[in-house]
C-alpha cells in the first residue's frame, strides 16, 4: 500500500467529498488539511464535507490529527463535517477529541513588548516589592523577638543545624579567602611602603585593614554566596512542595519555624566568624611579611598589636553582624517569595545572592562613612 493521500471531488452543489487512503504515519509524509480549506475558500457555496475512506491502510495519530484539525477548521467556517463513512475506531477517537472541552480560562500575561510598558511594569513591581520587603523585615523582627523571649514555635534541632550550617561548615572557606586577602594586602602595602623605607607599616596596614574592613566584608560576601543562596533554595523548594503551606495550616507560622532560627543563627555566628576571619587575614599578612620582607616575626606581631585598638575590632564585628542580617534577610525573603515552579527556585536563589552581595557592599559603604563621621 502506498503513502497517505487525499482526493477531493464535488458531490452536488454544497458537498465536498474527501477520500482518504494509504498508510498514515507520523514519521512519514501526510497531506495537510489546508487543501480542503483552499477548496472551501474557492467556492463559498460548499456547506458540507463528506469524509470517506478508500484503500486505507495502517494509520496512527497522524490521521487523527488530520481529521481533528480539519473538523476544527470546518467548524470555524460553519461547514458541516460528516465522518460517518470513516472506520468506527476513528469516529470514536474524533468524538473523544470533540467532547468535554471545559471552559478555558484565559492564559496569564505573557510578554510586555513596548519599552514603556516594560519600564512601567518594572517600576510598579519595584515599588510593590520594596513595600513587601519592608513588611517582611518587620515580620522577621517580630519573629526573632518571639524566638528570643521563647514564644516562637520552632525545633531546637533545626536551630542547631542552622548554627552548624552557617558557622561550622563555613570555616574552611572563610579561612582560605581571608588568608589570601591578607596576603594580597601585604604585597600591595609592601610595594608602596618599601619606597619610603617604611616596610614595617605593612603590619599596621594589614592589621587595621583586615580588622576594620576586609575580614567582615569578605565574610559577608562568602555568606551571601553560600548561606544566602542555600536559605533561598531550601525555603523556595519547600514553598514549591507546599511544605510552607502545610506549616501554615498546622498553625506553625513559617516566620517562626523557618525564618527566625536562620536569622538568629546568622546573627549569632557572624561576630565569631568575623573574629576568626580577622585572625586568618592577619596570618596571611604575617606569612608574606616574614618570608619576603626583612621583618622578624616578633617585630611584625608587636607592630600589629600597637596599631589595632579594641574599637577597630568592634567596627569590624558590628559590620559583620549587619552583613549577616542583610544576607539572612535576603535569603529568607526571596526563598519565602518563591513561585510554584521549578524555575522560580533558581530565580529566587539568584536574586538572593545578587541582592545579598549588593546590599552588603552598600551597607559597608554606609557604615564606613558613619564610623568616620563619629571618629570611631
Amino acid at each position: 500500500m502506498g503513502g497517505a493521500f487525499t482526493s477531493l471531488s464535488r458531490q452536488g452543489e454544497e458537498t465536498l467529498k474527501v477520500r482518504i487512503g494509504g498508510e498514515w504515519h507520523l514519521r512519514g509524509q501526510v497531506p495537510a488539511p489546508s487543501e480542503v480549506e483552499e477548496e472551501l475558500s474557492r467556492d463559498p457555496r460548499l456547506r458540507r464535507v463528506l469524509l470517506e475512506h478508500q484503500d486505507l491502510g495502517a494509520w496512527d495519530s497522524s490521521l487523527v490529527t488530520y481529521l481533528v484539525t480539519l473538523a476544527a477548521r470546518c467548524r470555524a467556517r460553519a461547514v458541516d463535517v460528516d465522518a460517518s463513512g470513516m472506520p468506527a475506531g476513528l469516529r470514536r477517537l474524533l468524538n473523544l477529541a470533540r467532547s468535554g472541552a471545559p471552559n478555558v480560562p484565559p492564559v496569564g500575561p505573557r510578554h510586555h513588548r513596548s519599552i514603556a510598558s516594560v519600564v512601567g511594569v518594572w517600576a510598579t513591581s519595584m515599588a510593590a516589592r520594596s513595600a513587601d520587603m519592608v513588611g517582611f523585615l518587620g515580620q522577621t523582627a517580630l519573629a526573632v523577638r518571639d524566638l528570643l523571649i521563647g514564644r516562637a514555635h520552632y525545633r531546637r534541632a533545626d536551630f542547631a543545624l542552622a548554627l552548624e550550617h552557617v558557622g561550622g561548615s563555613a570555616l574552611p572557606l572563610v579561612a582560605i579567602i581571608n588568608f589570601l586577602v591578607g596576603a594580597v594586602l601585604a604585597f600591595l602595602g609592601a610595594v608602596q611602603l618599601e619606597r619610603f623605607g617604611a616596610s614595617i607599616y605593612v603590619a599596621s596596614l594589614v592589621g587595621v585593614g583586615t580588622v576594620r574592613e576586609t575580614g567582615a566584608l569578605m565574610t559577608g560576601i562568602v555568606m551571601a554566596g553560600r548561606t544566602g543562596a542555600s536559605f533561598a533554595a531550601v525555603l523556595g523548594t519547600m514553598k514549591v512542595n507546599s511544605e510552607v503551606d502545610a506549616l501554615e495550616a498546622m498553625n506553625l507560622p513559617p516566620m517562626h519555624f523557618l525564618v527566625a532560627p536562620r536569622v538568629v543563627a546568622m546573627l549569632v555566628m557572624m561576630p565569631l566568624l568575623v573574629i576568626y576571619a580577622d585572625v586568618f587575614g592577619m596570618m596571611g599578612g604575617f606569612v608574606v611579611a616574614v618570608t619576603t620582607l626583612d621583618i622578624t616575626p616578633a617585630l611584625y606581631l608587636h607592630e600589629t598589636q600597637r596599631s589595632i585598638a579594641l574599637h577597630d575590632a568592634a567596627v569590624g564585628v558590628i559590620k559583620g553582624v549587619a552583613f549577616g542580617a542583610v544576607v539572612a534577610l535576603c535569603g529568607c525573603y526571596f526563598g519565602m517569595r518563591t513561585g510554584r515552579t521549578a524555575s522560580s527556585v533558581g530565580t529566587s536563589t539568584t536574586a538572593a545572592v545578587v541582592s545579598g552581595i549588593l546590599l552588603v557592599i552598600v551597607v559597608d559603604a554606609g557604615l564606613t562613612f558613619f564610623f568616620y563621621a563619629v571618629r570611631m
Binding site: S61, T69, L96, G100
Partner: protein, 256 residues
Amino acid sequence: MHSTRSQEEWLVHVKGLTMAYGDFVVQRDLTFTVQRGGIFVVMGDSGSGKSTLMRHMIGLEQPAAGDVHYGGEGYWSAPPDARERLRGNFGVLFQGAGLLSSMTLSENIALPLTEHIGVSESYAREVAATKLALVGLAGFEDHYPGEVSGGMKNRAGLARSLSLDPEIVFLDEPSAGLDPLSARRLDDLILELRESLGTTFIVVTHELPSIFAIGDDSIFLDGERHVMSAKGPPKELLEASPDPKVRAFLQRGRFP
C-alpha cells in the same frame, strides 16, 4: 517454531526481577508477561514497589537481579544504543506528570515530535492540539503547567506520553486527582487507543473502577511480604484469588 510464536504473543517479559535499594529488598523474584495489545494493571498496597517496578521496566533503575525483556531482547543485558532504541518505544506518564514547567502544554507534547522525528513546529503543534483534545484539554495549548490544576497536569502528561504513538505506554496513577467523569473518559481513551492503534498499556493504579473497566491482566504486589501475591485478570482475582488480601483489596470496589 515455538519460540517465535511465544514472542508474538507476549511483548514484555519480566524475568526473575529483584528490586532493592541497598540492602532493602522492595520486591523479590518477579516474573510475569504482558500480552501485546493488552492492558496490564499493576496493583498493590502503598509502598509495595509499584512505581519502582515501573522505573525498573523503563530503565530508570537497575535491577538487583533479573531482567526485563521486550520482544525477546533483554533491556539490561542490551548495549546502551539498543537500550536507547527500546526506550524510543515507550511512552511514560509519571506521578505528578513531570511536565517541564518552562514550556506550555503544547510545547511539552511537541518536544518529542520535533526532537525525535523532526516534524515541523507547526505540524507538531497540530498533533499536540489533537492529543490534548483527546484527553479533554482542547483549548489549553498555551497554558503553562503552573496555570492548570493537578488533574489537568496529569491528563497533559498522558497526552505527552502518547505524542510519538509509542508501542508501550506506562501510566503511573493516571487517574490520580481526576473526578469520576474524567477518570471514566480516560479509561475510554485507553481502551480506544488499544483498539485502534494496538497500543500496549501498563498501568499502575489502585482505582478499582478503572481496574475492572480496563484491566485484562494484572499482578498484585504485597508490600509486607515483598512478593507478587497474585497474577491474572482482575475479575478472576476478585472471585478466586487464593490470597485473602487480594480479594479484600478488590472487593472494596464492588461492595463499598
